[in-house]
Amino acid sequence: MQQLVQNLLAVGLHHYLILAVVLFGIGTFGVFMRRNALTTLMSIELILNGGNLTLLAFARSHQDMRGQALALLVIAVAAAEAAIGLAIVVGVFRNRHNTNIDELNLLRY
């Protein structure tokens, strides 16, 4: 019991990393379970934020600011990805009146 309390109170790097794993897992789960393209995009944002969290946690742990700089780049890439992704969703919807990604399977054999 005391061990548990100690673990709860002594928040450290591993707590952040496990949270990141959870976030990544929820995001991935969303990507392959939900059929709506918008939800998929949101899940991808969750995955990216899980990655960002590990970057920042390690940056803090190693006291290396490069992790933070990298996280900023990740945010910029995520913004670009969201913009393009949403544009594609709009384009697809305009053509097919449907954004269910499990039905968008023309890119195959």
């Binding site: 392959f32 890119l107 054999y109």
Partner: protein
């Protein structure tokens, strides 16, 4: 004794010209093209002259200028290392001077001859390419480098023979030249390989010390040097148009006339003679059967081609057979050991034969491309410069003193007469007498060939330039002297044809002259002195030498006289009558001894038939019918399997990524723990040593728990990885051992008594 000199400049200038002309020439116009082509060759000629002057003044007799063509090693294959270098010694100097300066003259001539040609840039690009390749051939310091140039000139020759490829005839002639040369080149290449295998070197500089190794007996009791020489000579026979590979050269006249002059008369076709002289150590191998072969084939070719030349009607064909015949003379020269004489004839021949071809070009230019001499006649009035220069060339090739051909041909004839072939001592008497008689036979054949040469050259001269014009009225109205860019080279070559022979006057003629004059008249003899190539054989008695000289001169005079008798002032009735009365012989000569037809029946048609069979049976039935179905069959199967994964559903793709990642994670960590429980036991009385894991594992990478007695409880826990674990049993008996390995990082646990992938051997210790 060598010295460095940028010889690669001589090669790179024409090659650069070729690149410029072929890539940019079409856009930049004819003026630019001719400027680039001529200045590239002129630059090469000037650098070459400078280099040759250095060789003459600064270096001792066997000295050479050297240069690297490729830095470092050129060919590396196992132990075989070869550098690509260039070398210029006294022998290659002769060739370099001939090639660069005659090429320059012909380039200048071609600017006039080809002025109406739409594909001007391509022509000069090829011509420059040829010059560069020829210079590589001549300057190469080893047989492989020479071979590069050898193939390069072959390519340029093929491209230029088929230059007007729109006509099927020309393209076919180009292919014929290429294929026949390929046969020769194959022999040449095998010769190089054999030389390297047996002797271990292919560099000319090392040739002076290989004579002993060439004596190694090899095949059919002959020394290896004989076979190398024969194989190299096969290549030379191809390139230099000797029996049996001469058939391409007459057809090669399909190319533009400057090409015929440069490639198929003055330079490329003499490459074989040059190589024989260059590799004289190999050809000199005792017994000298190789030399006998070379000389014999040379003499046979000389006679055969000369007889064919008598009856031909096409201007350039006559000259082509004349070239084949003269090349035969040169091979007799180098084959009888008169290397200097052979190379000397090569040089003088380059002057007058180039001139003859350029003269032919000038005539055909005026005739509007007509090449049949029967339709010419009386052209001397209209084109005096061409006529009189042609007159000089004809004197030179017929061998009239003091023109160039006299001295060089005399040297070859004298050499052939006086030659002695060193053969093995244990010959039967009839064999020995045959060998002794052989040089006289060669001399006889050459003398006959010389008679024919004088006859057909003067027949050509009389038929074309004297008498009445026999062509159409329209052609007659267009007759004109050629532009100065064409006549200038003719004049220069005519001067060369007069003077070139005077540097190689036989020693007996220069006795009593002032020392400086003697020095000048024997310049060539001292240039290629015995230190460079072996001395030419000479008759021992002066009277014999004079007699031979007089005989040769008489033969030439008789030939010219006969030609004048039959053709002076046009084709006489007597000539026509002679043609009728000797109908069979005429037919035989007119059809060139039916050699092309014989080759067609013996080689070409069987080859076609076999090819057709292979095409219809092997290609159509076996390959297209069977083999090509096998590949698609498997492709279909695997494709059907693979396409199931490509279902276009991105959700399944990401599931696949997840499953794959999990699989990798599981597999890699499981494998570590699995390796950790593999072990072997060593039992020494009651002490058991258990060797676990893999040598690559680090201490502490795995944590072990061990149950030594199989009671289900671990006796030792938290043992850090250590390849050897020891245990001593208290009492005897058989014990089951269970090991559990745990990866502390990934928390993968593996027990040796797992039903699934347990230890490869059940661990149990039997102690006493």
């Amino acid at each position: 004794m060598t010295e460095n000199f940028p010889l690669s400049l001589i090669i790179l200038l024409p090659l650069l010209g070729a690149v410029l002309n072929l890539l940019l020439g079409r856009r930049l116009g004819n003026t630019f093209v001719s400027l680039v082509a001529c200045s590239a060759v002129a630059g090469a000629a000037l650098v070459a002259t400078k280099a040759v002057l250095l060789v003459a003044s600064d270096l001792p007799m066997r000295g050479a200028l050297v240069d690297q063509l490729v830095s470092g090693d050129w060919i590396v294959a196992g132990d075989f290392k070869l550098q690509a270098g260039l070398t210029l010694d006294r022998l290659s100097s002769v060739m370099v001077m001939v090639v660069t300066w005659i090429a320059l003259l012909i380039h200048i001539y071609a600017t006039g001859y080809m002025e109406h040609e739409p594909d001007y840039a391509r022509f000069f690009g090829y011509l420059n390419l040829f010059t560069g390749a020829m210079l590589i051939l001549v300057l190469g310091d080893s047989l492989p480098v020479t071979f590069v140039g050898w193939e390069g000139v072959g390519l340029a020759s093929y491209l230029l023979i088929g230059f007007w490829y729109h006509e099927d005839k020309n393209a076919t002639a180009g292919r014929k030249a290429f294929i026949v040369n390929r046969i020769g080149d194959f022999g040449f290449l095998i010769g190089i390989c054999l030389l390297f295998t047996v002797v271990g070197t292919v560099k000319y500089a090392d040739f002076s010390s290989i004579a002993a190794k060439l004596m190694t007996p090899w095949w059919m009791g002959w020394p290896v040097g004989y076979w190398i020489a024969i194989l190299l000579f096969v290549g030379c026979a191809g390139k230099s148009a000797q029996i049996p590979l001469y058939v391409w050269l007459p057809d090669a006249m399909a190319g533009p006339t400057p090409v015929s002059a440069l490639i198929h008369a003055a330079t490329m076709v003499t490459a074989g003679v040059y190589v024989v002289a260059r590799c004289h150590t190999i050809f000199d191998t005792f017994p000298e059967a190789a030399k006998m072969t070379v000389a014999g084939i040379g003499a046979l070719t000389a006679l055969m081609a000369a007889t064919i030349g008598i009856v031909q009607r096409d201007f350039k064909k006559v000259l082509a057979y004349s070239t084949v015949s003269q090349l035969g003379f040169m091979f007799v020269g180098v084959g009888t050991g008169a290397y200097a004489a052979g190379v000397f004839h090569l040089m003088t021949h380059a002057f007058f034969k180039a001139g003859l071809f350029l003269g032919a070009g000038s005539v055909m230019h005026a005739m509007g491309g007509e090449g049949d001499i029967v339709k010419m006649g009386g052209l001397g009035k209209h084109m005096p410069i061409t006529r009189w220069t042609f007159f000089v060339y004809c004197l030179a090739i017929a061998g009239i003193v003091p023109f160039a051909g006299f001295f060089s041909k005399d040297a070859i004839l004298a050499g052939a007469f006086a030659a002695e072939f060193r053969m093995a001592g244990n010959m039967a008497p009839w064999q020995a007498s045959l060998v002794a008689l052989y040089p006289k036979l060669l001399w006889g054949m050459l003398a006959t060939a010389a008679l024919c040469t004088a006859f057909y050259m003067w027949r050509l001269y009389f038929v074309v330039f004297t008498g009445e014009f026999r062509g159409t009225k329209e052609q007659e109205s267009h007759l004109h002297e050629s532009p100065s860019s064409m006549t200038l080279p003719l004049v220069v070559l005519a001067v060369g044809s007069v003077l070139a022979g005077l540097i190689g006057v036989p020693a007996i003629m220069t006795h009593g002259l002032p020392e400086s004059a003697e020095h000048l008249f024997t310049f060539f003899t001292s240039w290629l002195s015995p230190a460079m190539v072996p001395a030419s054989p000479e008759p021992h008695e002066h009277w014999l030498e004079w007699a031979l000289m007089g005989g040769a001169l008489t033969i030439s005079a008789v030939g010219i006289g006969l030609a004048a008798l039959l053709y002076r002032g046009g084709i006489s009735q007597r000539a026509e009558g002679l043609k009728k009365s000797l109908g069979v012989l005429h037919g035989l000569l007119w059809n060139k001894y039916y050699v092309d037809e014989i080759y067609d029946v013996l080689l070409v048609r069987p080859l076609r038939r076999v090819s057709g069979l292979l095409w219809k049976v092997v290609d159509n039935i076996v390959i297209d019918g069977g083999l090509t179905k096998v590949g698609p069959f498997f492709v279909d199967i695997f494709g059907a399997m693979a396409q199931r994964f490509q279902n276009g559903d991105v959700q399944r793709y990401i599931i696949a990524v997840m499953v794959g990642t999990a699989g990798i994670l599981f597999g890699s960590t499981y494998y570590l723990a699995y390796q950790g429980i593999q072990g072997e036991l060593k039992i020494d009385k009651r002490t058991v040593t258990l060797k676990l894991g893999d040598v690559r594992m680090r201490p502490g990478q795995l944590i072990y728990a061990i149950d030594w007695d199989g009671d289900g409880k671990f006796d030792e826990t938290n043992v850090r990885f250590n390849s050897e674990l020891k245990h001593e049993y208290g009492n005897a008996g058989e014990f089951k051992i269970v090991v559990e390995a745990r990866d502390p990082v990934w928390n993968m646990v593996k027990r040796s008594d797992d039903w699934f992938f347990g230890a490869n051997t059940p661990l149990s210790a039997k102690v006493e």
